[in-house]
């Protein structure tokens, strides 16, 4: 396992629900973080591990549910950020699932294929080729990261680590992320364009 794979595997685990198994392994997780070479990723994961190890289990559960289960803004389902609640989302989910299959992997039954811990695990298993979905959903990851920072969540550090492992955002991507944060996920406007003979159409141009 490469250090990079370990980093992604750690991100995958740390972003999972803090159930009893994960809680029991907190020390090992911290230890594993320590084995990483000095890097921004290591610093950020260590910062998170500190809180994660010290916090009471009930507090961890409450915080996780609040951040990831009951808030759209920092939901861990990546295709939501790219496609919102549109019909393209089903196809995007399918695409991921097929990608896992092509790699000889069986997609999870109890979880969607775009769940960030799943996507990270895929990257950890498949190396560079497996990181394609992460790169494709770079903007969504950035949105989650920003939302977690805004909410003052310690989980922001995990997303920092993940972001640091990925290519930097370009100027254009940054602008897109800002627009997404402002407007929310995309919606669909099928059938919303006005239709009528041209003489009736003045003033109805879309303000896109």
């Amino acid at each position: 396992m490469t250090e990079r794979a370990l980093t992604l595997r750690l991100v995958s685990l740390l972003l999972s629900y803090p159930d009893s198994e994960l809680l029991a392994g907190r020390d090992e997780l911290t230890e594993a973080v320590r084995t990483l070479p000095d890097s921004p990723q290591r610093d950020r994961l260590l910062a998170f591990a500190g809180w994660f190890t010290a916090a009471a289990p009930e507090e961890l559960a409450r915080h996780y549910v609040e951040m990831f289960d009951l808030r759209r803004r920092s939901s861990l389902y990546l295709t939501y950020y790219l496609h919102g609640d549109t019909r393209r989302r089903g196809m995007a989910l399918l695409l991921l699932k097929q990608r896992y299959r092509v790699a000889g992997l069986v997609p999870p039954e109890g979880e969607l294929p775009d769940f960030l811990p799943v996507v990270c695990e895929f990257a950890a298993l498949e190396g560079t080729r497996g990181e394609a979905p992460l790169r494709q959903h770079r903007r969504g990851i950035e949105l989650i990261r920003t939302a977690l920072h805004d909410a003052g969540s310690p989980y922001a550090a995990v997303l920092d680590a993940l972001a640091a492992a990925l290519p930097e955002l370009s100027e254009q991507e940054r602008a897109e992320v800002a627009a997404l944060a402002l407007d929310g996920p995309p919606d669909e406007e099928v059938g919303l364009a006005p239709f009528a003979p041209p003489e009736y159409m003045c003033g109805t141009e879309s303000r896109a």
């Binding site: 090992e28 559960a61 609040e66 609640d85 549109t86 019909r87 699932k97 069986v106 979880e111």
Partner: protein, 1216 residues
């Protein structure tokens, strides 16, 4: 980076390597162009599954769901509805933008994916559970410790959920139910789920569970104020209406408060098609609603004054089509199918008279059985009195067998006594447009009268002519001179003053409506909606509407009559659904409860009244309501056996049965004795005693706090015990109820456990203690039907419930199992006792003759169960066997069969069929172990879906009516719709005695066609459609006949509610909460599509006039407040709105864009923060004829339209 071993101890993975099969082979995709195939196949679906949209939409449209690799990727309207035959438009396709955006709920981030419990409660639970070892003892300790209880109740609505497991959470809920049953009584375990028609198995799973343990089931149709109370009053029928394809058969269609394109979207095309055919369409709506632009005429009465408009139209119809010219079609219809010819006793009142009771055989000295229920008319040929066939007395007597029909023989009923009259006498009639208070005053007009058997009588028709102010020569009293006379009710000019609709327009529309009916033999229709049905006095509004369709012979005709489209819930396979949903196969009856009365007491809204019931009484009343608060009326209705009342007594019913056994008396004797001695009280008299609190509430398929909870802030404060923005003071001491115990400190947090089962995090879920993840409508087996079309069809799982979601069916099975396990030690087998109200469509209708109120508590009679008080029915419950009873059809169906609307069916062959189809359990009982089994059983046991039962039912009915009916089902006697059939596509149902219309020969369904064409009586006192009702309390309220009652005058009852701070501009306006086109209740409002199409988040629509008064521009933030609460919203300023009225669309949930309010400083406020409950006393009546109880058939409505609110601009900086 170098390679290193995985240092982590976790074995779990989301992704696993594809397995090699047992024979050593494995499938590898070696095609290097694998990705090409993905793109090539991207529109090829693995399967297409048919389903529909669940509980909250009346459309019941069939949809195709496309599945690929276990993912729902697409959905599409089904187009294969069975044809409705030639010369009529088809049903297909059906759908709307809301349904089309449903599938994205499946994977939406807002979905409830795991079982949740609020952390503070779960910590308490785990600790106590661990320490005590016994879950029931743990729940007892937590709820018994005031400190602990307060801690978790105060946390409601404030987040803090953590995931639990199904196992843990099922045990918690089951322990709470066992403890509540044991310590407080099974009737303190309450279930709420509405509208069985739109997913019958899911409904039935929970109601069956509650029925088996003895829990209380709350009604919803009346609670939603969708029940048109006029329908049971006039017809003795809950609701029966035409399917939408029957609009095509209409040639004059009035949309009255029903916004068809918006709220009946999939059906609206029939309206378009009817217009192309030449049907005239009229819209009556105070605002420029979407449907208005499709109408030929638009009448815009002030909100809530529709009754005045309808009365004026009735005035025109009676004047021009009955007085000035006789229309044989109308008078023939009136004589045969209405109570207009029946005789009413006139009682002396000062120097005049007033209408009393119907003249009955008893009054004529007859002492035959049920003579008090045989109403009398005059034969116009002979002048002799006659008791015609078909009265209630014929329905429930031995001698009535074969005579319960509308056949008049040679008799020609006299509509008027004008030519027979001994004298013309003055009668006092109620009017409510004038007078000091809500009770109005009286006016004096005259009727022709005749002395019969020592009594002065007149006909209902003569009284109606007087009520509508249609003058005839020689009659005394004050009458309008012309349509232009605005001083006299009910002229068009009088209505113009009230409604603003020009008198000439009213007269023209009325004339057209009736003339069309005359020429087409009854094809004039009124489609009415919540705009007219959600008022406090909606029953009077509706009776004025129904008078129009009955006078013009439109009811029971295709293309004519009423078309009430509010909260349709026609579960067409009703018999199977009801018997299994309420576990009538194991025990009868169940604890059905009137929802509004329950919430009124449970949420302590009764403590905040500004006026009393006697305020509503007309001077014609005898003072029966004098000094009574609304809660007093409810308490009286409970003890007289009129309405159910659960929780029932201030003692655990299980303990009552034990006491009786120890005392060696029957349970009923014991209870009557204890009540008489005053040792036992009805819980409705002590709603704030902890012994009487509802303790555990389970809500499924519903969003109580986000949609229907009128008086939201009272719910939050008293029922849940958390933050609330109630601004009202409690009722002044002088106005308080006399019969209820008043505790100084109102309880907060009555409820120990609120469980919500949903797939969305609704407002109800946000306040729940436990949230369970439900399967969506594309993830389960179920059945759907509606009033709007004549088909039944299925829900099917396109995918298995994802994450940890479960179907409602499986959830309740698991709960029943755990309940049984815990109950083995804690409960065992116990005897329960139910107080059961006098029931509709049973001989109970004969219990209280004349609708005379006699109260045993006041010594006016003895308490006799089943006559002067509720029946007392003991039921033995083996609490350890609940889980097994859930899964098998019980033995009562073998011996008692099934009964719907008074007709009993032998279902022996059906049980045999189900044994083979579903398999058996236990003692050779047909299985209900899965939702599919339940669906199969519902279909097999219902006459609409099983032709054999339809034929049998009609033959049974024939023995009572003596007329021919069975031929209606003959063409389908061999037809049985199986669940498999419904999974393939929508299946047309069979004509059945369960309903009043006919599909025979492929015709369109319309209500009461069987009554009109086959002389089958209505289920009323006279057996006819009743203009006139004579229960004591109806006399008290002045509502014996249709009458106009204006909206309640909130200002006079609750005073000026403006704050007037610092001269800030405010305006007080009428506050309405209609449905929008971007949601179905709270559903879809959080959906990106609908948020994009609408403005999203809470909005209040107001007129340009009102906006200008308070300096509000479009999209500004405003605050609306009154004594009930406060809500912040953006203003939508529109010319569409009339001045003085605002809309806040129904069911704006508190999870999208809801800021803190300036006034309370708290986040939240919903559309129901400004509303509250008011009980109308006439909705509580029972024990007499059609005024008897059935679930969702009768009961107080949770109306909300009479409310007013103050609006002002607020700071444009909002925080969340």
């Amino acid at each position: 980076m170098g390679a290193m071993p995985d240092p982590l101890p976790f074995t779990r993975r989301f992704l696993t390597r594809a397995e090699v099969s047992a024979d050593g082979r494995t499938l590898h995709q070696i095609d290097p162009s694998a990705w090409d195939r993905f793109y090539r196949d991207r529109w090829a679906h693995d399967k297409v599954v048919r389903s529909t949209h669940g509980v909250n939409c009346t459309g019941s449209c069939s949809w195709q769901v496309f599945v690929k690799d276990g993912l729902i990727t697409w959905e599409h309207q089904a187009t294969d509805y069975p044809s409705v035959g030639p010369e009529s438009p088809e049903y297909e396709p059906r759908g709307c933008p809301r349904g089309a955006s449903f599938s994205w709920y499946t994977y939406s981030p807002s979905r409830v994916r795991y079982p949740y419990v609020r952390g503070v409660l779960l910590d308490l639970w785990r600790e106590a559970r661990q320490r005590l070892g016994d879950p029931v003892a743990a729940w007892a300790e937590i709820t018994g410790d005031p400190g602990k209880a307060r801690t978790y109740k105060r946390a409601r609505g404030k987040g803090g959920f953590v995931r639990s497991t199904w196992d843990e959470v099922t045990e918690l809920v089951a322990a709470a139910h066992v403890h509540t049953t044991k310590a407080h009584g099974p009737d303190r375990v309450v279930g709420f789920s509405p509208i069985p028609a739109m997913s019958m198995a899911s409904f039935a799973a929970g109601t069956r569970y509650h029925s088996l343990i003895g829990g209380t089931l709350l009604s919803f149709y009346d609670w939603y104020a969708d029940l048109p109370v006029a329908s049971p009053q006039v017809w003795g029928d809950q609701t029966d209406v035409p399917e939408s394809a029957d609009w095509w058969n209409s040639s004059y269609l009035v949309m009255w408060g029903s916004n068809i394109p918006v709220t009946r979207t999939p059906d609206a095309h029939f309206l378009t098609e009817a217009r192309y055919r030449g049907t005239k369409v009229v819209a009556v709506s105070p605002d420029y609603a979407d449907n208005v632009k499709f109408a030929d005429d638009w009448l815009a009465p002030h909100p809530g004054t529709d009754g005045a408009l309808a009365m004026a139209m009735g005035h025109v119809v009676l004047t021009e089509f009955f007085r000035d010219r006789e229309v044989p079609y109308f008078t023939g219809y009136a004589r045969r199918y209405t109570d207009l010819p029946f005789l009413v006793c006139l009682e002396q009142r000062g120097d005049g008279y007033q209408a009393g009771k119907f003249l009955t055989s008893t009054d004529l000295g007859d002492d035959e059985e049920s003579a008090a229920f045989r109403t009398v008319l005059l034969d116009d040929r002979t002048g002799e009195t006659v008791v015609p066939n078909g009265t209630l007395g014929h329905r429930w007597s031995e001698s009535g067998k074969g005579n319960w029909n509308l056949d008049l023989g040679d008799v020609e009923p006299a509509l008027t006594l004008y030519r027979w009259a001994d004298e013309h006498v003055p009668v006092d009639l109620p009017r409510f447009d004038e007078g000091a208070g809500e009770g109005g005053t009286t006016l004096r007009r005259g009727v022709p009268a005749l002395r019969v058997g020592g009594r002065l009588v007149t006909t209902v028709f003569d009284l109606l002519m007087a009520q509508y102010g249609v003058a005839r020569d020689g009659l005394p009293g004050s009458w309008p001179q012309s349509y232009e006379d605005s001083m006299q009710p009910c002229t068009p000019a009088w209505a113009e003053e009230i409604t603003s609709v020009p008198a000439a327009t009213t007269a023209r529309i009325a004339r057209e409506f009736a003339r069309n009916a005359e020429r087409s033999q009854g094809r004039s229709m009124i489609a009415m909606g919540a705009g007219t049905n959600h008022w406090f006095h909606s029953d009077t509004i509706y009776r004025a509407f129904l008078a129009l369709v009955m006078l013009t012979g439109c009811q029971g005709r295709n293309g004519g009559g009423w078309a009430h489209y509010v909260g349709q819930e026609k579960a067409r396979p009703v018999t199977g659904m009801q018997h299994l949903a309420f576990a009538f196969d194991w025990q009868r009856p169940t604890r059905h409860m009137a929802g509004t009365a329950f919430w009124y007491l449970a949420s302590d809204q009764w403590r905040y009244e500004g006026f009393r019931a006697d305020e509503l009484a007309n001077p014609l009343g005898k003072g029966l309501l004098r000094g009574k608060a609304f809660a007093d009326c409810n308490a009286q209705a409970a003890r007289l056996g009129w309405l159910p009342s659960h929780p029932t007594f201030n003692r655990n019913p299980l303990d009552l049965a034990d006491e009786a056994r120890r005392a060696g008396s029957s349970v009923a004797e014991h209870i009557v004795g204890e009540l008489k001695a005053g040792r036992l009280r009805f819980a409705a008299e002590q709603p704030d005693d902890p012994a009487n609190f509802p303790r555990a509430l389970t809500v499924w398929r519903a969003n109580l706090l986000g949609s229907s909870g009128k008086g939201n802030e009272y719910f939050l404060r008293h029922l849940l015990g958390t933050d609330a923005a109630v601004r009202s003071v409690e009722t002044a001491e002088s106005q308080r109820p006399h019969e209820l115990d008043w505790t100084e400190d109102a309880p907060e947090g009555k409820l120990d456990l609120l469980t919500t089962i949903d797939f969305r995090m609704t407002s109800t879920a946000l306040f729940a203690d436990v949230v369970l993840p439900a399967a969506t409508w594309y993830e389960k087996h179920d059945l759907s039907s509606t009033d709007m079309h004549p088909f039944v069809h299925a829900f099917n799982p396109a995918i298995a419930p994802p994450w940890q979601a479960r179907t409602d069916y499986d959830t309740f099975l698991a709960l029943a199992d755990r309940f049984s396990a815990l109950a083995t030690d804690h409960l065992g087998t116990r005897t329960d006792v139910l107080a059961v109200p006098l029931a509709h469509d049973t001989p109970d209708e004969l219990a209280q003759p004349g609708g005379r109120v006699r109260d045993w508590k006041h010594g006016e009679c003895e308490p006799v169960p089943g006559r002067t008080m509720p029946k007392l029915v003991p039921i033995e419950r083996d609490y350890a066997a609940i889980g097994e009873k859930m899964r098998a059809i019980g033995p009562l169906l073998d011996t008692l069969g099934t009964t719907t609307k008074g007709i009993t069916y032998d279902v022996g062959p059906e049980l045999a069929y189900l044994r083979s189809q579903n398999g058996v359990r236990g003692d050779n009982r047909p299985s209900l172990a899965t939702a599919e089994h339940m669906c199969e059983a519902i279909l097999a046991l219902s006459a609409t879906t099983n032709g054999r039962l339809a034929g049998q039912g009609f033959r049974t009915l024939e023995r009572r009516t003596g007329t021919r009916l069975a031929d209606l089902a003959e063409e389908n006697e061999g037809k049985r719709i199986t669940f498999e059939d419904t999974r393939k596509g929508p299946q047309p149902v069979v004509t059945s005695p369960e309903w009043s219309g006919s599909e025979t020969g492929g015709r369109r369904y319309s209500a009461f066609v069987i009554n009109v064409e086959r002389d089958k009586p209505w289920h009323t006192l006279t057996g006819r459609q009743q203009f006139f009702v004579d229960h004591d309390w109806m006399i008290e309220l002045g509502e014996q006949l249709p009458v106009y009652r204006p909206p309640l005058n909130m200002h006079s009852h609750f005073g000026d509610q403006t704050l007037g701070e610092d001269g800030r501009a405010e305006v007080t306006v009428r506050y309405l909460t209609p449905h929008s086109k971007w949601s179905i209740h709270s559903e879809y409002q959080d959906n990106a599509y609908m948020l994009a199409l609408s403005r999203g988040g809470p909005t209040i629509w107001m007129s340009t006039v009102d906006a200008e008064k308070i300096g509000v521009a479009d999209n500004d933030w405003v605050e609306a407040y009154n004594r009930n609460g406060v809500v912040a919203a953006r203003a939508v300023v529109s010319h569409r709105m009339p001045a003085g009225t605002v809309f806040m669309y129904h069911a704006k949930d508190r999870n999208v864009n809801v800021p803190r309010t300036e006034l309370s400083g708290k986040r939240g406020g919903t559309h129901n923060s400004l509303t509250r409950l008011l009980l109308k006393p006439s909705h509580l009546i029972g024990g007499y004829g059609q005024f008897t109880y059935a679930f969702n058939y009768y009961g107080p409505t949770g109306n909300q339209r009479d409310e007013v609110t103050v609006i002002r601009r607020r700071s444009q900086e909002v925080t969340y």
